[in-house]
């Protein structure tokens, strides 16, 4: 089966976030039993780099290209009863598949690797994101409940203006709204009471009354995850409503935060 290896190798060595890295000794798997003097297992020290659900290993730390890749889907990570201390194994659900036995330098390193690898699957990450999405939705709802029920600004075309990071050129962080400042230049109408002198770490500013916001350009937040309950289902009703709520709050909040921070700065000479 072909794989876009050049791109994969490039991804391995580029400066995208690394979840974990370090030296590990990798057990050499022999497929044939040649007539060796002894059948002891041997290990080779390699530089390992974990990016998402991909575990790359390099011959040397400075190597320009990975020697190999272990795709970490459908696997478990467990401590190993090998002869070696600080050994752990990556095992796949597929019964006939070989396990990868790796040996860390010490207890702490082993624990760190096992922890990182256990959380490396795409599904795990998706669950975490989904959970945070829900938390944000809850937070939005409780804030909305605190203030009067909000009047939504006309937003027929707005959803499309508000791009998500997937539509932006690839970048590490979502962009912050810049062009909203011209609208808010004269201060916030509607008399928002902002807790801007309270030493400020814990309380976010209260939600102001509804206003029309500037047409959004790059508000770089993601649309709700399309976690399908079944394959090929389109965006569900739930995510459609949430994304509207999300767009509406997201833009406002980005602008408010900036203003709040500016007031904070002015309050601290």
């Amino acid at each position: 089966m072909k794989l876009n290896e050049r791109s994969v190798a490039h991804y391995a060595t580029c400066d995208s976030p690394t979840d974990h890295a370090g030296f590990l000794r990798k057990r050499v798997e022999r497929h044939h039993h040649h007539a060796h003097h002894h059948h002891g297992t041997s290990y080779q020290r390699r530089w390992f780099v974990l990016k998402g659900n991909l575990l790359f290993y390099f011959e040397e730390r400075e190597s320009r290209e990975p020697m190999g890749l272990v795709v970490l889907e459908g696997c478990t990570v467990e401590l190993c009863e090998a002869a070696e201390e600080f050994a752990f194994a990556i095992r796949f659900d597929d019964a006939g598949a070989r396990a990868y036995v790796l040996v860390a330098d010490g207890q702490a390193a082993m624990e760190a690797w096992v922890k990182a690898l256990s959380r490396a699957s795409f599904d795990y990450m998706r669950l975490v994101v989904r959970e945070l999405e829900k938390q944000l939705e809850e937070a939005c709802k409780s804030l909305a409940a605190c203030c009067k029920s909000p009047r939504r600004s006309s937003s027929s075309g707005r959803k499309r203006h508000l791009s998500n990071p997937a539509l932006l050129p690839l970048q590490e962080k979502p962009a912050v709204v810049e062009n909203g400042y011209s609208t808010w230049g004269s201060g916030i109408p509607g008399g928002t009471t902002c807790p801007d002198r309270d030493g400020g770490h814990t309380k976010p500013p209260p939600l102001p009354p509804r206003r029309r916001s500037a047409a959004g350009s790059a508000v770089g937040f993601p649309a709700p995850s399309l976690l399908p309950t079944m394959p090929e289902s389109p965006v569900s009703l739930e995510t459609d409503c949430f994304s509207k709520l999300h767009s509406w709050y997201g833009q406002e909040i980005a602008v408010l935060r900036r203003e709040w921070q500016e007031r904070q700065k002015r309050g601290h000479p």
Binding site: K51, E133, L143, F221
Partner: protein, 133 residues
């Protein structure tokens, strides 16, 4: 570069986010559009001959660019080689847009950005800091 092909093949058999028969062209000289079963599983796009159980190939969808081309057509290319495009011709504009949206979200990097964003937003709203992972 070695990789655990067996596990990738196993992954190709998992339930897909999205799967469809789509005309596909690989960025190879003289290559033409061919009908393929295209299947999105986690951050991999597998493509099969329509009557075969094992995929011809897989594309890791990290650091890739999904571009709308002409009508019904989108392409996938990778950052370091933007001219080398895998082209996909869908049955309809709607199908084309659905695939573009799904593929743009189908990377671990996208989820990472989402995570950071949500975490920051929650912190701003509630003052609570949640762990990154």
């Amino acid at each position: 570069m070695r990789y655990n092909e067996r596990e990738l093949l196993s992954l190709a058999r998992q339930p897909a986010e999205k799967a469809a028969e789509i005309l596909m062209r690989v960025p190879k000289k003289g290559s033409v559009l061919k009908k393929r079963l295209v299947k999105l599983v986690v951050n991999f796009l597998f493509y099969f001959r329509t009557d075969e159980a094992e995929p011809i190939g897989a594309l890791l969808l990290e650091h890739c660019r999904i571009t709308k081309e002409e009508e019904n057509v989108f392409s996938i290319s990778f950052i370091e080689e933007p001219e080398r495009k895998y082209c996909f011709e869908c049955d309809s504009e709607e199908q084309c847009q659905e695939w573009i949206e799904a593929l743009k979200r189908a990377s671990y990097e996208f989820m990472r950005r989402s995570l950071i964003f949500y975490r920051n937003e929650i912190q701003k709203m509630t003052g609570k800091v949640s762990p990154l992972k």
